[in-house]
């Protein structure tokens, strides 16, 4: 079980670094989402299911949805797609 926890913690660190280094905002949000999911699993392992439910609902669900809406509103997602099409 400790090995599993260690792997999850390592994943958290990697996620946290990857969010700050990723150039695309969309990818950053997706990584942030997975960070929250892993965090909720860690909360369960730390025997606090209350926090796990809240983290999964708020961190992975609603916060990322709000981020997506904001990106859409400032046309960040569409712009990236256009750039990719141009390259092709």
């Amino acid at each position: 079980m400790t090995v599993f926890t260690d792997i999850l913690l390592l994943f958290l660190v990697v996620c946290a670094i990857a969010v700050s280094l990723s150039k695309k905002l969309m990818n950053a949000i997706l990584i942030f989402m997975s960070y929250s999911l892993v965090m909720s699993i860690i909360w369960i392992l730390l025997e606090s299911p209350d926090l796990a439910i809240t983290e999964a609902a708020v961190g992975a669900g609603i916060t990322s949805v709000l981020f997506f809406v904001t990106l859409k509103k400032i046309h960040a997602i569409e712009q990236f797609e256009e750039v990719e099409e141009d390259h092709e």
Binding site: S48, P49, D50, A52, I53, T54, A57, V58, G61, I62, V65, L66, V69, T70, K72, K73
Partner: protein, 321 residues
């Protein structure tokens, strides 16, 4: 003493001229100054090109690294300072952490009589099997009230910042524009939502209602219900959700829930402070109708949180219901 002037006399006085000037009936410069209509300033094409060239060159001069030695220096110093600042910050934080008491020691400040009392007498005093809920909604209920109000204030701020007032003259393009990005009658999404939304909402209600019996509570359950509502909105559009959830619904819901919370907690504060026996029975631990006011408070918090999450999403999407 004042005497009435005749019209001829009055026209010579200063006040008459001042009033005329203020009214604009007489222009003192008219007839005294030569006036010409202004000529329009015409910029020739060559002039404009020259100006743009000069502008470009000045920008190059400022931002080109090979041209500007100061910028080069600043950029180098900026990197060095960044690294220094980060290292200093990390060192300070690590130093602060090293002063913390070691984990699991017996004489740590965490091990005081407060937590011991919560763990030993929590079940008897609050009637909640889940100690965490008993703590946040009974012993520390005032904190939770503040939290709910913070959420409410956050929604008010979002309403003020992002909300746009509907005027009759403005065309409804903004809503239609938003409708473009929305998946219109996406069959897969609609079927998935049809299957998923009822279980999500029922699970949220379960989490709220069983907050005092197991893991969960108002905040997490409310967030789950809010997420379910957002999924429903994404699949079926604003027209369907507006049948049951508008700005008015949100206002009534959250204000009544917060008021209910305030009243319930004021009652228990009043009875507790004056050493009066509370009328509300604690019930048998483990039953759904037990632990006094906690069930009611959980429902209030859940209603506020669910409304807040949904309202956030709607405001971000189109700035108004």
């Amino acid at each position: 003493m004042s005497r009435k002037l005749s019209p001829e006399e009055y026209e010579k006085t200063l006040s008459f001229r001042l009033r005329q000037w203020l009214d604009g009936t007489k222009d003192p410069y008219l007839g005294n100054l030569e006036m010409k209509p202004q000529k329009e300033h015409v910029v020739s094409k060559k002039e404009r090109e020259e100006r743009e060239e000069r502008k470009k060159q000045s920008i190059m001069h400022v931002y080109e690294l090979s041209e500007n030695k100061e910028l080069k220096l600043v950029k180098k110093l900026y990197g060095v300072f960044c690294v220094c600042f980060c290292v200093l910050l990390v060192a300070m934080l690590l130093l602060a952490v090293s002063y913390l008491p070691t984990y699991g020691e017996e004489h740590n400040p965490v091990n005081n009589e407060v937590s011991r009392r919560y763990i030993e007498n929590g079940l008897q005093e609050t009637g909640a099997v889940n100690i965490v809920t008993g703590m946040i909604l009974d012993y520390r209920a005032f904190d939770t009230l503040g939290e709910s109000h913070v959420l409410f204030i956050a929604t008010c701020t979002v309403l003020i910042l992002l909300g746009h007032k509907k005027t009759k003259t403005s065309e409804p393009t903004e809503d239609e524009m938003d409708r473009i990005y929305e998946p219109k009658n996406d069959t897969i999404l609609q079927f998935a939502a049809k299957v998923l939304v009822p279980p999500i909402v029922i699970f949220g209600i379960y989490v709220i209602l069983c907050g005092h019996l197991g893991p969960g509570g108002g905040f997490s359950g409310g967030a789950i219900i809010g997420a379910g509502l957002i999924l429903y909105l994404n699949a079926f559009g604003f027209k369907k959700t507006e049948r049951f959830f508008t700005e008015k619904t949100y206002k009534i819901m959250s204000v009544s829930a917060l008021g209910c919370y305030c009243l319930a907690k004021s009652y228990s504060f009043y009875t507790g402070a004056n050493h009066i026996e509370s009328v509300i029975p604690l019930g048998t631990p483990g039953a759904i109708l037990s632990s006094g006011l906690i069930l009611l408070l959980n429902i209030c918090v859940g209603v506020v949180v669910a409304g807040t999450m949904y309202t956030f999403y709607v405001m971000f999407r189109k700035g108004g219901y």
